[in-house]
């Protein structure tokens, strides 16, 4: 979870209400990509869109920035109707779509930044300081005069993000910002994204199918599947709901522990090779210490405790599986 964010206001940067998108198909049945979803993003918040391929994440993002026309529903960016007044609404929005595309490969790093600054109506004199600062922040100073096509994929993605930032908008849409990056560059990119809100106060809606990215970067996560929102909650809340803090306790000796299952939520006891393994799902830290005390009172020697808390990937799978089971 991200720490040390700037305190943000409760103003809504983005409000999506009943958004629906059905793609008409030539001589085929229409495809419903987004099915009446509603959500909002507060100013200064990073919200993650999580879902498998075809969940409707990219369509939603493209509807927000006016690249796809919604079939139904309302989208407001800083109070501006983005469906009927797209140009005005997108002038407050930047987007990085599909990783390292979005930049001109024939232009150098600096030329790209200057082009996108002016393209958003910014004078170079005003933007110059920011260009230098972005080059420094993204470690692109030495590549300032190198054509974008000669940069590594990670650098191209950093440049794409810089080009989105140089537009000077407060709202940023990032579609798969770490797609195709190696582990180190992906981690760097996540740090950059986190700092965009903490240092620069940007509001970000990020889509990814990489659970680690969402878990690491976002405060809130919206889980989508087949065009619908299945969950919309803070990362911590989702973890609490789905985790119930699972632990494995390894005890010395093959122990008989009467009434343990009744008193604590012990789901499994295995006795093998002079050891006992208890698996317990505990609601909070009080239950955890309670169980430890109980074992101590029984003179049971505790050899090892393993936390089996679920990561975002397991939570995500659980949400999706539950939804499929309901259907």
């Amino acid at each position: 979870m991200t720490q040390g964010r700037t305190k943000r206001s409760t103003e809504k940067s983005l409000t999506v209400n009943g958004l629906e998108k059905t793609y008409p198909q030539w001589r085929k049945k229409s495809t419903r990509a987004v099915d009446g979803i509603s959500f909002s993003v507060d100013e200064g918040e990073i919200v993650g869109f999580l879902g498998p391929n075809g969940a409707g994440k990219t369509t939603t993002i493209k509807c927000i920035c006016g690249l796809v026309e919604p079939t139904k529903g309302e989208i407001n960016i800083f109070g501006i109707d983005a469906v009927n007044d797209t140009r005005k609404a997108v002038s407050n929005t930047s987007a990085v779509l599909e990783g390292n595309r979005n930049i001109y490969w024939r232009l150098t790093t600096r030329e790209n930044l200057e082009f996108f600054a002016r393209l958003h109506g910014r004078r170079l004199k005003e933007a110059e300081h920011e260009i230098k600062s972005l080059l420094k922040r993204f470690d692109l100073q030495e590549k300032e005069d190198v054509p974008a096509r000669k940069l590594s994929r990670g650098m191209q993605q950093k440049l794409a993000l810089s080009c989105a930032l140089i537009r000077g908008t407060d709202f940023l849409l990032l579609d798969e910002p770490t797609l195709g990056l190696d582990v180190k560059t992906s981690k760097e990119m996540r740090e950059f994204v986190k700092r965009l809100t903490s240092d620069m106060g940007k509001t970000i809606l990020l889509s990814s199918h990489d659970m680690n990215v969402v878990e690491d970067v976002c405060e809130r996560v919206i889980i989508m599947n087949e065009g619908k929102i299945l969950a919309n909650d803070s990362v911590n809340n989702l973890k609490d709901v789905f985790n119930v803090h699972l632990y494995d306790f390894i005890l010395k000796g093959e122990q008989r522990l009467p009434r343990l299952k009744e008193k604590y939520d012990v789901t499994d006891i295995q006795r093998k090779d002079g050891k006992t393994k208890l698996r317990a799902s505990l609601k909070d830290s009080d239950s955890f210490y309670d169980l430890i005390n109980h074992l101590q009172k029984k003179d049971v020697k505790l050899e090892e405790v393993n936390n089996l808390d679920k990561n975002m990937e397991e939570i995500f799978m659980e949400v999706i599986e539950k939804e499929e089971a309901v259907r």
């Binding site: 793609y23 920035c65 690249l67 140009r87 599909e98 232009l107 002016r118 393209l119 109506g121 004078r123």
Partner: protein
């Protein structure tokens, strides 16, 4: 007003890219020049008259101009879609149609310089000297409006249909037919098809030495109505295709 900054940004980018790939451009021009020489000296060997030879020079130069202007519209758009930058051009305070018009302006300046250079070299090499009245710029601009209109139509179609390269190539040859049409027929069709009437006026100015004042109001009316009709129809069809692409989620795909 931010629009002038957007205009400057688009035109500057056009020239930066051109400079970076200048050798490639020069080699393409070299290839076209060899083709011209083959056509010109081929005609000369058949003892074609001076008017035919001079008409060939003007027609060929106009054809290159038209193909480049058209390509800038349709291929430029396809390239943006392929490279993934097209969507970024929609995320600006301006409109994509305006942005593409700015790029066309940049390309017009370059193509006009190239047109004059090409024409001068052709005149020196062939020994056929034409009248270079500055008023010809006005006729060229008006004539090219119809080409830009067709460029917008094909650009719009490529947004939705994507693979329209074959159509682009056919159109390049169709332009030859349209340019020579006034020399093979005086049927009224030349008033309605693109570039034919404009090229006819350019020919009269450069070969017969006419000035802008020598043309009648009817000549200008046909040229202006024809050119702007194609341009506006092109813009209208582009708008429809753009809307359809947004509806089908095809913008930026290639």
């Amino acid at each position: 007003m931010k629009e002038h900054l957007i205009f400057y940004s688009v035109v500057k980018k056009y020239f930066i890219e051109l400079k970076r790939y200048f050798l490639n451009t020069l080699m393409t021009m070299g290839g076209i020049f060899i083709l011209f020489m083959l056509v010109f000296f081929g005609l000369k060997s058949f003892e074609a008259g001076t008017d035919t030879l001079q008409g060939t020079i003007v027609g060929f130069a106009m054809w290159i101009f038209a193909v480049m202007a058209y390509s800038e519209m349709s291929w430029g758009l396809l390239r943006e879609a392929r490279d993934g930058t097209l969507e970024q051009l929609y995320l600006t305070p301006s409109t994509f149609r305006r942005i593409s018009a700015y790029r066309v302006f940049g390309s017009f300046i370059f193509q006009f310089v190239l047109f004059l250079t090409f024409l001068s070299i052709m005149m020196v090499v062939t020994g056929q000297y034409l009248s270079l009245n500055p008023g010809v710029i006005i006729l060229i601009v008006l004539t090219l409006m119809s080409i830009y209109g067709i460029g917008y139509i094909m650009g719009g179609l490529s947004l939705v249909l994507k693979k329209v390269q074959a159509g682009n190539q056919i159109l390049q040859f169709l332009f030859i037919l349209l340019l020579v049409l006034p020399t093979i027929t005086d049927h009224k069709i030349i008033y309605f098809v693109p570039i034919s009437w404009g090229n006819n006026m350019i020919n009269r100015m450069m070969i017969d030495g006419l000035s802008l004042l020598d043309f009648t109001m009817i000549d200008y009316t046909i040229l202006i109505v024809n050119s702007f009709a194609y341009l506006f129809v092109g813009l209208f069809i582009f708008s429809l295709m753009e809307k359809s692409a947004k509806k089908r989620g095809l913008l930026g795909h290639y």
